[in-house]
Symmetry: C2
C-alpha cells in the first residue's frame, strides 16, 4: 500500500508508453495496489492528459473502461473518483515448494517414465490432428471419441479377452475418473456400500468414500478375494484386481471367479474389475479378463497409466448395458466428455500397432528389472521372501516374522529410500512386508538400492 | 448359438494358424458364442492336438490359460469341460446413428472450427512434449500443470484484468468441469441453492441441479442481472456472465457489479463469473473481469472452448483462497488431475504469443461475420431487432411482438435451419427472439441463411 509517488506522471508512466492501454493498465494497477486510495478524486481527463503528455482521448477512454469495470466511478459534476468499497489482495500466496526427491524411489504404481515413447506419441498426435474431421473439434461425445472406442473394443478383445462392442466402452480421464463416475452412479442407484480388497490401493477406497459410499474391506488370500466373506456383508458391489491383485500380486482363482459372479447375480450386484496392470505378465500370457464371463455383472476398467504414462489421464470403462447410459450421463454432467485430441492420438497409436510394440519393449524391460531386483534380494537379503506371480510393476516382499514394516520403511526413508510398508495398504493387521516398485529403476540402481537397504537395516 | 461344425478342426482352425494363441483364441470364442455349449466335455489334450495337427503343448497351454480365466474347468479324472454357468452376450448393441446435419447450423456457442490453428497447435504439442521434464509424465498436480497456471495467471491478468497468482488458478476439463467441481464444493460447504441468470445457458443449470443444488432464477434486464431480486432469495451463490450476458448480450453495469459484490459480502456468499467469450469484443476493448473487484468473493471461470475448440476440454477456475484447497481436493478425488500434455501444449501456445495471434485473427473473422449477418437481417428482415453489445459468437434478435419464437424455430428447422428460440433458455415468459450463432458460417452462407429464413417465414 505504498504511496511514494508525487505526480501522476510518476504513478502512471513508470513503464507505460503513451498508448491508451498503458494508461489504463497502470491506472487499474494503481487502484488495485492501493497507491490510488479508495475515494481519491482523479484529475479531469484534460488535466491528466496534459500531465502525462498523452492525447486527451487516451485518458477519456481509460476512464471509461475502468468505470465500466467498476474501478472508478464517474458522477456528473463531481468528476471521476476511485471506487470506495473494494477488497484488493495484497499479494498472492506462494506456490508450495516441490516435494523432496528420493535417492531410490521404489513406490509402486509408476511405469518407467523415461521409456515413454515420445517420438511415437508425438507422431500419433500430429497425424491424428491433421486427419481429424473438422466437426470433431466441436463438443465431444461424452462416451468417448468413437474411433477410440472402436480401437479399444478391438484391443481389449484381442489382448484382454474382454467381450464388448464400442458402445459398451466409455473413455474416462484415467481409471480414477472411471471409479468416480461409477461410485456416484452406484450411489444414485441406491448403493450405500462398496467392498474393496484388503489390502488394496488406499487411493481407490478414499475416492469411493468421498462419493458417499461406505467402504467395506474383504481379506485377500493366496487365491484372491475371499468371496465367502464378501457374502456376509451388506453390500452389492465390489472392486477387485483379478488378474494381479494389488498389492499382493496373486491371481484370482477360477473357482473364486465363478463364486464372485454367482454372488453378484445373487445380490443383483456388480463386480468392478480393475485391470490396472494386467498387460505386464512375464512368465506366461496374462490371465484374460473376467468381464467376459458375465458382461452383465462385470465392469472392466483400465488405463494407459501403467503402460504409457499417468500424465496422459486416459482410461476406460467397459460397462454392462444396464449401467452404460447412466454413467455416460453422469460424465456429460461432470465435464461434457474427455478431450478429443489425446483420444484421437491414442486411437492412432492403437491402430498403427505402436501400443503393442511399446508393450513388447516395456514387458522385456520390466522383466529384466524384476529379475535384477529379485536376484539382488535373494543374494543380499535372503530372509526376505517375494510373493505373487511374475507380473506388474512391483513385488511384495515378506519380511521376517515380527518385523515392524513401518519402522523398516521409516529407517529406509532416512537413507533416501522410498519403500512403502504393506501396512500402508490395509486397516487390519497383516504380515510384515514391503511393496517395492521396480519399473522406474535400472537393474544397476535396483542392485544399489538393495545394497543400501541391507546396509541400513543391518547397522543398528 | 449355431453349432454347425462337425470336427474340432473345423471349429477351431477356421482362421487360426497352428500357433498356441490361435487355438486359445478360437476356443475362447467358441465357448463365448455358444458353439461349445456349457458342460461340453473337451477331448484330451493329446487327442485334440492330433485332430488339429498341432503340438500337444499348444493345446495343454490353451486349456491351462482358459481354465485360469474361468472358461473351462479341469477336474482330475473327468478331463476338461466348458464352464456351466456363464452369461455370454449374443451380440453388442449397435452404435447410435449420427445426428442429422443442418443445412445452416446457427446454434450459439461454437467457434469457427475450421479456424482452429491446427498447424500451430500441432507445433505446440510437439515442442512441449519434447521439452517436457521426464518427471512431468507421472501423475499430474491436481491443481493443474504449474507452467500453465503461471501462463494463465499472466494472460488473465493482462487480457481480462484478473487479479491472481498461479496458486489461485486451477485447470479443469473445460469450464463444465469447473462448474461441476464448484457445485459439489458449495454443496459440501452447506449451500443448498444457487442462482442463475434468467435467461441463461440451460446446460449450466442442469449441471448444478445434477449435483444436488436447487437452481433459482434471477431475471436479467438491460443492465444485467437484477441484484435486488437476488437479495430476496434464500441463496448465497450466483452464476453470472458479467462481460457479455448469455444469451442476451448485455454487459453487467458497474453499479450492479458493486451491488452484486455487496450482496456477496452481506450473505457471506460467492459470485461465479463465467467469462465464457469475453475475449470477443468488436467495438471496444472487452470489459475487464469483475473478479479483481473482490477476489475473495468472485470465482472467475473460463475455457479455450470459444477461442480454440471445445474438443480441447481445457478450462480454468480462479479461486478465492478460502475455496481453492477444497476444489483442488475435489478434483483430486474425481480424476487425480487433468492430462498434462494438452496443458503443456496450451502453455506453449500462450507463452509463444500464438494464442494472442489467433485471437486477433478470429476477432476480425467473427466481426466480419457478425456484420454480414446484421446487414442481411437489416435488409431482409427489418422487423427483427438485434440486441446486446457487439461481442461474442452469437446475437439475440427480437422478433415482432406476439410472435411465437418456438414455432418460428420449428418452421425454420423444416428447412434445415437450426435457429434456437430464446424460450429455450428461460423458464419464464420472455419477449420472442432467436439466438443466432454466426461464428461458424461464412458471410455468404449467413446471407443465404437469412434469405432462406425470410423465404420460409413469409411463405404461409
Amino acid at each position: 500500500m505504498a504511496t511514494n509517488w508525487t505526480t501522476y506522471r510518476e504513478l502512471l508512466l513508470p513503464t507505460a508508453p503513451g498508448r491508451r492501454r498503458g494508461v489504463e493498465t497502470e491506472l487499474r494497477r494503481a487502484v488495485r495496489d492501493g497507491r490510488l486510495a479508495p475515494g481519491t478524486r482523479l484529475p479531469s481527463s484534460r488535466d491528466l492528459a496534459d500531465q502525462l503528455g498523452v492525447a486527451r482521448g487516451t485518458v477519456t477512454a481509460a476512464y471509461e473502461q475502468l468505470v465500466g469495470e467498476g474501478y472508478l466511478v464517474a458522477k456528473r459534476g463531481s468528476g471521476t473518483t476511485v471506487t470506495a468499497a473494494c477488497t484488493w489482495p495484497d499479494s498472492f500466496p506462494a506456490e508450495p515448494p516441490p516435494t523432496p526427491r528420493w535417492r531410490y524411489d521404489l513406490r509402486p504404481g509408476l511405469p518407467a517414465l523415461n521409456a515413454f515413447p515420445r517420438e511415437e506419441w508425438s507422431q500419433a498426435q500430429k497425424s491424428s490432428l491433421l486427419d481429424l474431421p473438422v466437426d470433431d473439434l466441436g463438443y465431444p461425445d461424452p462416451a468417448g471419441y468413437a474411433p477410440l472406442r472402436r480401437e479399444l473394443a478391438d484391443y481389449l478383445g484381442r489382448v484382454r479377452a474382454v467381450a464388448a462392442g464400442p458402445s459398451q466402452v466409455v473413455v474416462t480421464n484415467g481409471a480414477a475418473e472411471g471409479l468416480s463416475l461409477l461410485g456416484r452412479t452406484l450411489r444414485d442407484a441406491g448403493h450405500r456400500t462398496v467392498a474393496v480388497e484388503e489390502p488394496s490401493h488406499f487411493g481407490a477406497a478414499g475416492m469411493l468414500a468421498s462419493h458417499g459410499l461406505e467402504v467395506l474391506r474383504v481379506p485377500v488370500d493366496d487365491n484372491g478375494i475371499q468371496v465367502d466373506r464378501l457374502s456376509t456383508l451388506d453390500c452389492r458391489a465390489v472392486l477387485v484386481t483379478a488378474a494381479h491383485q494389488f498389492p499382493l500380486g496373486v491371481v484370482l482363482h477360477p473357482t473364486r471367479r465363478h463364486a464372485l459372479l454367482e454372488w453378484a447375480r445373487g445380490v443383483d450386484g456388480l463386480v468392478i474389475e480393475d485391470d490396472y496392470d494386467a498387460e505386464h505378465r512375464y512368465d506366461r500370457p496374462a490371465t484374460g479378463a473376467m468381464q467376459a464371463l458375465d458382461p452383465t455383472r462385470v465392469v472392466h476398467q483400465g488405463s494407459t497409466s501403467k503402460v504409457l504414462a499417468p500424465a496422459l489421464r486416459l482410461g476406460w470403462l467397459v460397462l454392462p448395458s444396464t449401467l452404460r447410459d447412466s454413467v455416460v450421463e453422469r460424465k456429460r454432467l461432470d465435464d461434457l466428455g474427455t478431450g478429443t485430441l489425446p483420444q484421437a492420438a491414442f486411437a492412432h497409436l492403437l491402430s498403427s500397432g505402436g501400443y503393442d510394440r511399446h508393450l513388447r519393449r516395456t514387458r522385456h524391460l520390466y522383466r529384466t528389472r524384476r529379475d535384477a531386483l529379485l536376484s539382488a534380494l535373494a543374494e543380499t537379503l535372503p530372509a526376505w521372501h517375494p510373493i505373487g506371480v511374475a507380473a506388474g510393476l512391483h513385488v511384495v516382499v515378506r519380511l521376517p516374522p515380527h518385523t515392524d514394516d513401518r519402522s523398516v520403511q521409516e529407517r529406509l526413508s532416512h537413507q533416501g529410500i522410498n519403500a512403502l510398508a504393506l501396512s500402508n495398504y490395509t486397516t487390519a493387521p497383516t504380515f510384515p512386508a514391503l511393496v517395492l516398485g521396480y519399473a522406474a529403476l535400472t537393474p544397476d540402481r535396483l542392485r544399489a538400492a538393495v545394497r543400501l537397504m541391507a546396509d541400513t537395516l543391518t547397522t543398528p
